[in-house]
């Protein structure tokens, strides 16, 4: 309906974004009213900041994505290496977001950066070289950003799970250390558990592909008039790349993060062990 009234693509996009925004705000309003009624009944203050936080997130998301659109528009005619630089910048931001899941463990940013760059960077570079990703800015940045985002999620989950395992099993880890074992030996079962837990969501996405949801790339290609079979195959390519990246990133995160839970004298660090007992 909208495209009949607004033929210009820019104004059409603005109108579509405005409608989506209004919908999101209406849903938020309903939620806030429900929470306010609940709080009035129970005397609690839960969710007081939800409205403010959601408005900020919506505004931030809108501004960020418009900026990305502008930058993409500027970069489309530039050399391929500028796309690589843009992906590196994305990886730095992704590492900063992922490291928050490690909640104060020293060295988490460095680990996240190396893991995301190692996982996403190697997959993007190899696939671009092989021609699976078209060596153009228009292909490299959108597909690269999907892969970097996947690496960020996997890295964040790996950091969160590993820290959870270490905190939950600090006594078992120390029992191994007390017998003269290396930190990596005592950590092995918990690293394995954290690794599997971090990869399960990615496996579930692969399993449900096409049945539970039709992801964005395929939907976009079909909307753009591409043959649905090719769009489906290319979507699978992207999902397989995201899975490969996730596995690489999780492995790197586990290997690099382990040592940060220990002191040089092979004791569990203060963040990992409540060693204040009497």
């Amino acid at each position: 309906m909208l495209n009949q009234w607004i033929p210009d693509p820019l104004w059409l996009g603005i109108a579509q974004a405005a409608i989506a925004l209004v919908l999101a705000l209406l849903v938020l309003l309903v939620l806030l009213v429900t929470i306010a009624r609940f709080n009035a009944t129970t005397g609690t203050t839960a969710g007081d900041r939800l409205g403010q936080d959601t408005l900020m997130a919506l505004a931030r998301g809108l501004i960020q994505i418009i900026l990305v659109g502008l930058v993409l528009g500027l970069l489309l005619d530039q050399a391929l290496w500028t796309g690589g630089v843009m992906l590196l910048v994305m990886m730095t931001f992704a590492a900063n977001i992922a490291q928050r899941r490690a909640r104060g463990t020293p060295g988490a940013f460095g680990v996240a950066l190396v893991s995301i760059a190692g996982g996403a960077g190697s997959v993007v570079a190899l696939m671009t070289w092989l021609g699976v990703i078209e060596p153009t800015i228009a292909s490299l940045i959108p597909i690269g950003s999907i892969i970097v985002a996947g690496a960020m999620q996997s890295c964040g989950q790996a950091l969160d799970r590993l820290q959870g395992e270490v905190r939950a099993h600090s006594a078992e880890i120390e029992a191994g250390l007390a017998l003269g074992a290396a930190p990596s030996t005592t950590m092995a079962p918990f690293v394995q558990a954290a690794m599997l837990a971090s990869l399960i969501p990615r496996l579930d996405i692969l399993r449900s592909l096409g049945i539970v949801w039709i992801p964005g790339i395929m939907a976009g290609m079909i909307l753009g008039g591409i043959d649905p079979i090719y769009a489906a195959l290319y979507q699978f390519v992207i999902m397989a790349l995201v899975f490969a990246t996730a596995t690489l990133t999780v492995c790197l995160t586990m290997v690099l993060m382990q040592k940060h839970f220990f002191t040089p004298a092979e004791q569990l660090s203060a963040e990992a062990s409540p060693s204040t007992r009497g």
Binding site: L177, L179, G180, A181, P189, L268, S275, G278
Partner: protein
């Protein structure tokens, strides 16, 4: 003719640990000799477990140090130190797998594989004959505690640190463990520091008794009678 003094295996020099401004252990000076069992008593939270963790170097001292065979323990590789200064924690944390896997764990870290006969012998000594292939998931608390003790003994440590090792055991099992400990200390000429809340156990096993309170050693006595006599003084 002078009485020959047994060799000091482990000694502490002004050993202390503070965490976040709280003193857990302060200025501890003690020596453990070959072939002796020293008991440590004191109320909960007095720093007994913290001291054992420092001696095994699971925690780092914030003051002072520990000497093992006269050598500052910070100069030793931590794994080597911990295999020589064995710690049995109050709560027995066993590793997934069989009882035999647990007993072989310590020596395996030094590329030593205990044969079946050695594992069976260790299990026999604590009344767990035939338990080698059992999954640790199916052990009672008392059985797990006994496995934890022989798992540490399998490393043949020079110093044994025991944090209430028989707290989960019945009287019969407690006596078995006590016999094993006395036999090990005597045969290996090891030193043993035993935290216990049971006066009768301390009486039965210890040659000396240390008393701790609020992170400090408040008394070092030759026998339990001295401790009780002092506490009865007006």
């Amino acid at each position: 003719m002078p009485v020959k003094q047994a060799a000091v295996i482990l000694a502490t020099q002004g050993l202390g640990r503070q965490v976040g401004g709280k003193t857990l252990v302060d200025a501890i000076a003690l020596a453990l000799h070959a072939g002796e069992i020293v008991a440590m008593i004191g109320p909960s939270g007095s720093g007994k477990s913290s001291l054992l963790r420092l001696l095994n170097r699971l925690d780092e001292p914030t003051s002072g140090t520990v000497l093992l065979w006269g050598e500052d323990y910070r100069t030793l590789p931590p794994r080597q130190l911990r295999s020589q200064v064995g710690l049995v924690m109050q709560q027995p944390y066993l590793f997934r797998g069989s009882v035999a896997d647990n007993i072989r764990f310590g020596p395996r870290q030094r590329q030593m594989l205990l044969d079946d006969a050695t594992v069976d012998g260790l299990l026999d000594s604590v009344g767990l004959t035939g338990y080698g292939q059992r999954d640790v998931k199916h052990l009672s608390g008392g059985e797990a505690q006994r496995v934890a003790i022989v798992r540490t003994l399998a490393n043949q440590p020079h110093v044994l640190l025991l944090d209430e090792p028989t707290s989960a055991l019945d009287e019969a099992s407690e006596q078995i463990i006590e016999r094993v400990l006395v036999g090990y200390v005597s045969q290996q000429q090891a030193a043993c520091l035993l935290v216990s809340h049971r006066p009768e156990q301390v009486q039965r096993l210890a040659q000396r008794v240390l008393s701790m309170d609020r992170g400090h050693l408040t008394a070092i006595e030759e026998t339990m009678e001295h401790i009780y006599a002092e506490s009865m003084d007006p």
